[in-house]
Subunit: 342 residues, 4 copies
């Protein structure tokens, strides 16, 4: 029902998003964007850029007096430091004759493949859009969707489950409220209900920062209150598990997506992995366990929906040696130093 | 470019698939379907149904003298045992008055959620389509797509990496040819290049069969020869990693999808996880490692594309206790025994 | 909600269609297909092929005891004369060395453009799929959709409004029932409520047949009972008028699509073209006129939905002069005679 | 390949559009937007709103130094009179207690159906998005697409063919250049190559304005230089004629779409309607006539692509009588006067 597109370069004028298909009458207010974007920037050890971001969302359309109109919602986030970059990212011609180009492709990024695919000698043409800066707009676009979930009395929580090699200890049966309270106690810097893990992560991150290194991690999201039967097994592309994997794997850096206890289950026997059905007049159908993460047959089962993202460490480090980049148009360029090469 | 839909019930007349968007002139022959469908049924310890399947594909359209026409390819697999089931799965009315219904929902399947979503008192209405039998048609539909890869000189191999708790030992740098040869030596019963693992799996499976139990597992697929730059980071839904996750997570039983060494990377530091770029005149751009599984920035990097599926054990076991199923239309049905409940 | 794909060549094994997204519990029976396909072939002056068609639909999936399952419905129509053509349309290799090819492109068909686009020297590769034979499957696929309309108490009628230069006289305010009765009286050969027009058309068609000529025409479809508000103006691609135009213009030979009195309105003033709103407790909102054909703002207004297709005459006639066809691959072929050229 | 979404209310903060899928390196400059938006407002007799529009497009993303990056292009048009309307169209809450609402539905607009569908007592919730103001963003979004056509050496012209009952006289074989020159001579107020028709239209429009009336009309667009074989007959939704009809019928007010001489052809015989194929070494394949408007079998034939839109007169006139509007939520509202009702 909902669809969205984003646009915008990392150091261009700003980011734009359109979310289409929202029902009418859902509460969407400016403060919700501010809150979530501020939280996005609070992560401990985050890159320096975040300090100057201070993103503000302007709602251009689709909302009237704090309620959705049912029309497309357009959002705009100005890049507040754009003026520092405008000589490099001007939309209007001409291209200055002496502009600084980027010709050192970083490993593990879109840099090299993008330069080859789009046949450019200036990697800035690639990285401005491939940048994770784009997720600021995705975060903003999530606000109307979150409001819709709230209106449907679906509650959710997302937290960090692991950083580097240290995994947080989270109870499978904790309520959303308990988890949220524990996260508030831990603070936005670590977004986890496990304050002990947070302390260890702080140490790991400090060490990584000192060494110019980065760390991978795992996130988990849980939803409760989703009606039974969302998604459909009748055709492959309608399964909700598949659609969730599509969305989550599209986040830069996410390299694996797991539903429920999917990875653990792959090593188990069926007798130890089944979610036995229970019925009571008060609760209706429930399950004794939730290995399936709330998704059975590509549909929501009414149990908590649990999904995990495995994120690789950001591969941006210090510089290294020399290489020649050759684009399709055969313009060989000699790069002086790059850690991208050996 | 390619899209497909499947249709068909497990005990109905048959399975139908249409694959649309194939280019003209690609070699597609009947024997390719027979080979792959036979292989699909050769798995050691597979359920009894496979013995009677003996699926044959009829190419209805889209192919002329063994070459694609560029038109939609329609495939038909008759269910050869349909006549045994026709009293239960007749398309024409009337519904017999005394037909046997299924009212014991199995845990971990679409049974219960499907019955509630589609509001039926006969779970057969659900399981006939939710059955993994549907993957027979997906397997068939893969044949033209595989032929297209072959025409593009893209080679690939899929194998079983793990069954239950026992993981095969596979070299990361093995060539596709080496892996295929090793798989041939091991035989179609286990589809793995590691014959030692195959032996252990045989023991695990024999034990599980004896106990009426099942086992989960992991598969890995590798592609080599993919051109650089397939997929796109410009909009979230164009990333190839996301599209692959969408497709693979739609396979019944798959509960996690991993690109390259995604899960391992989530626990590592960036300095240990980067694929350093190399360049040589003979090979062009390559990488020293392939942690990213051939996908950088949602695009193919030219390195081998590596992707894994984590499959839960089939939850179909023996029967258990009693429960009442209530569909939306409030028709309560008393079930005699079910392992679905407790 | 509903989507479909068709497949099949005109002289291949048959036609296949899959319609996906049907709700569960809608009545779909074999006889409905037979009736509508028989009617499709009853048109007066139709080409000779229709005499041998005698199409029968086999429902392969999606229907159980005459009711939809909610799963994809697959339909199969065997080409009953395929065996006469199998030497030309075999799916399996090899291609016979001495096969008769088609190298005379007919004007106004896909022949020439298709041969150039798909770079083939045998126009049969093109015309087998481009043939209007494909509409037999579209007709079959309409049956479940029609049943859904019936279940929603939406009634409809389609009739021929004009053949050649002679237009039928149809009352704008006639009820669907009146129109259907008049059509039954006229007979399936002309599918029109105006028996006088039918007589004139018989004369026109007889003359055209005698001269080896063909005739264009116009069809009209009316729906009553559609709920208010189907379709949406919020984004361009959700408007129902646009979606209807998409569907109808995709029918081979249709060269214009009109909503309501669209063409007439383009020559009028606003004061003469407005559908004044009325309200009564018994009928709710109605309109004094229905110039807009039941669509306002891309949504159904509750008034009868009226849509017309303008179909060009089939351009297949007798043969003419000589031309050389050159495909992209530069294989020049000398054609002996063709009316395609001058 | 290209897709787009628009957003924005008529008196809100502005209009936003994202066009996704543009190739890299296409020239897109600010002046192109200014030129086309100025032209959009130059129509003789256009409503008063146009005088204050003076739309300026801000390119937010997707363009660097006048060339596309291959990333999504986001465009923003501020509604320069928004501050006059901000008390009615504020995005933030609260809704003022004494706000003026619109409760007189105009006939022939989305007003009534929209109010019922979205269940609102304030028709402003509907008309702000349903307004033809949205086409300002579509016009802007066309600029990158036009630049792409230019880069592909495809030339085009769009002109007014008819206003009210007076049709312009346009040569079918005129070159694009001739037509453009004649249009320039006539001026932007009428956008037609036929200056005599323009004079008559001025009289018609003056009369209509004096009477508070409006007029319908017809537009024609011609493209030359399109490569042979764009579009595809292999599946219904790939036909270019169908896709064009989808796009054009989505323009508010367009009630019929015609390819080539489609309407005329429907009244003719095949012998008078065929586009005979010619071949010459210098020109390749051409046609003696172009009844088919450059589309054969849903593909471009290489002949000029000709397409027409039939637009109804705007139904906004003076006010009339009294009616009660009842939304779904049963809040009856008494309207004082409306020409919508009788």
């Amino acid at each position: 029902m909902l669809r969205y597109m984003t646009a915008g370069e990392s150091h261009g004028k700003g980011l734009v998003g359109i979310i289409d298909g929202m029902p009418k009458g859902v509460k969407v207010e400016k403060i919700d964007f501010d809150t979530i974007l501020k939280r996005r920037l609070a992560g401990y050890g985050r890159g320096g850029r975040s300090k100057i971001e201070g993103d503000k969302v302007e709602i251009i359309s689709g909302v009237r007096f704090g309620l959705t109109l049912g029309s497309p919602i357009a959002l705009l986030i100005r890049n507040i430091d754009h003026e520092n970059w405008s000589h490099l990212m001007e939309t209007d011609p001409p291209r200055p004759s002496s502009i600084e180009t980027i010709d050192l492709p970083r490993p593990g990024h879109a840099d090299l493949v993008g330069a080859l695919k789009f046949d450019t000698g200036d990697i800035r043409d690639i990285i401005e859009r491939a940048s994770a800066r784009e997720t600021a707009m995705r975060t903003a676009i999530s606000v109307p969707a979150r409001s819709l979930l709230t209106a449907l009395e679906i509650d959710s929580v997302s937290f960090v489950l692991q950083i580097g090699s240290v995994k947080a200890s989270i109870q499978r049966n904790s309520s959303i409220e308990t988890l949220k309270n524990a996260m508030t106690a831990t603070g936005d810097a670590f977004l986890t209900p496990d304050s002990k893990a947070a302390k260890k992560w702080k140490g790991l991150i400090d060490k990584a920062l000192a060494e110019g290194d980065t760390l991978g991690g795992i996130t988990e999201t849980r939803f409760v209150g989703i009606p039974i039967g969302i998604g459909n097994f009748m055709q492959w592309d309608k399964r909700l598990d598949a659609r969730l994997a599509y969305s989550l794997m599209s986040i830069p850096g996410v390299r694996a997506v797991e539903i429920g206890e999917g990875i653990e289950l792959s090593g188990k026997s069926g007798s130890a992995a089944r979610d036995i059905i229970k019925y009571s007049n008060s609760l209706g159908y429930t399950r004794k366990t939730n290995f399936s993460g709330g998704l059975e047959g590509g549909m929501t089962s009414g149990q908590p929906l649990v999904i995990r993202c495995y994120m690789k460490p950001i591969p941006t480090l210090k510089r290294g040696k020399t290489i020649q980049l050759r684009t399709h148009s055969e313009k060989a360029v000699r790069y002086e130093r790059s850690d991208a090469v050996a």
